[in-house]
Amino acid sequence: MGELQAVPWALIAPLLLIQLILMVVALIDLSRIHATNGPKWLWAIIIIIGNLLGSIVYFIIGRKQS
């Protein structure tokens, strides 16, 4: 536990929070959108696992713009 408390949470927390918000926004968009390029479940995995990059890639090439 000592190591966890040594982490300067005040500095790191905003970073994690923004990453989480981005992931949630991507997931909300994924659930609302009619169809994606490629299977939907695959995009869900990409967004969750590839946190920052996954969400960016989803927004740029995953959404079917029509």
């Binding site: 500095l11 923004i18 981005l22 968009d29 969400s55 960016i56 959404r63």
Partner: protein, 260 residues
């Protein structure tokens, strides 16, 4: 004017419904935050990853606040620009390709209002993103490295915002002139390729449009060249107007290529 307002409202609604106005600023904030934190903890990260040879010593350079803001600018210049270009490069051409534009072009609309509404919304999203990114970067820089002078920082931000508006004008103009794929390729060659070209042989050129980001940084630190600041600024403004006029013209000319 009322036509412009309607088109502007439509573009704003579109950027809200596709979450553009939300996720691009978030990406810029993450890019802006990552550099100050990474540089601050670099020594700890290297220690934790380990595998350093016995007696290995490394001298870390003493980083000034301006260096950190320059590093964040570097992030915006690579990943940030690619994200912005990729999002907005289809803004006119995609509507032509999938037939949405038919609904617009059957009415007697002004192509100037159409182009300007697209460009202004792209600029709005880009400007919000860059301001959010720099604000996040500045917050951590001031917290971890020391204060930055406000007037210098605002001057730098304003110069960089002009650069980002120029990029958006190029992107939307290319979107008006070509199909999405060609437009994306041309814009990335012009912007990213130009930046690489500039970093290779830029010291031999006295003025070039790609000098604007380093001109912006020159307001913060003396490391960057400041001699032709006003000339670079006016060259970029001229190019901005040129690309807007080109975009409006191309919008008009390519209206007939819309697929139904």
């Amino acid at each position: 004017m009322s036509q412009f307002n309607v088109l502007m409202g439509k573009e704003l609604r579109e950027s809200w419904r596709s979450f553009k106005i939300l996720w691009i600023p978030l990406v810029f904030i993450l890019l802006g935050v990552s550099d100050p934190i990474l540089n601050y903890y670099l020594m700890d990260i290297l220690k934790a990853v380990g595998e350093m040879p016995e007696g290995f010593q490394m001298v870390m350079p003493e980083l000034s606040p301006a260096d950190i803001l320059a590093a964040s600018t570097g992030q915006f210049q690579s990943i940030g620009l690619i994200v912005l270009i990729a999002t907005f490069v289809g803004t006119i051409s995609r509507e032509r390709q999938n037939g949405t534009a038919t609904l617009l072009y059957v009415r007697p609309i002004s192509h100037m209002a159409l182009f300007l509404s697209k460009w202004l919304v792209a600029c709005l999203v880009a400007v919000i993103s860059v301001i959010a990114g720099y604000a996040a970067s500045l917050y951590y820089t001031v917290l971890l490295y020391g204060p930055v002078q406000w007037d210098q920082f605002i001057g730098m931000l304003a110069t960089y915002l002009l650069w980002i508006c120029l990029i958006m004008a190029v992107t939307v103009a290319m979107s008006a002139a070509f199909k999405t794929v060609i437009a994306a390729t041309l814009t990335i060659i012009m912007v990213i390729g130009g930046t690489i070209f500039e970093s290779l042989i830029g010291s031999f050129l006295s003025i070039s449009p790609w000098k604007l980001p380093s001109s912006a940084l020159s307001l913060l630190s003396d490391y960057y060249d400041r001699t032709n600041f006003i000339l670079n600024l006016s060259l970029s403004t001229g190019l901005l107007i040129f690309f807007i006029v080109l975009g409006i013209f191309m919008c008009q000319r390519n209206a007939s290529t819309t697929e139904i």
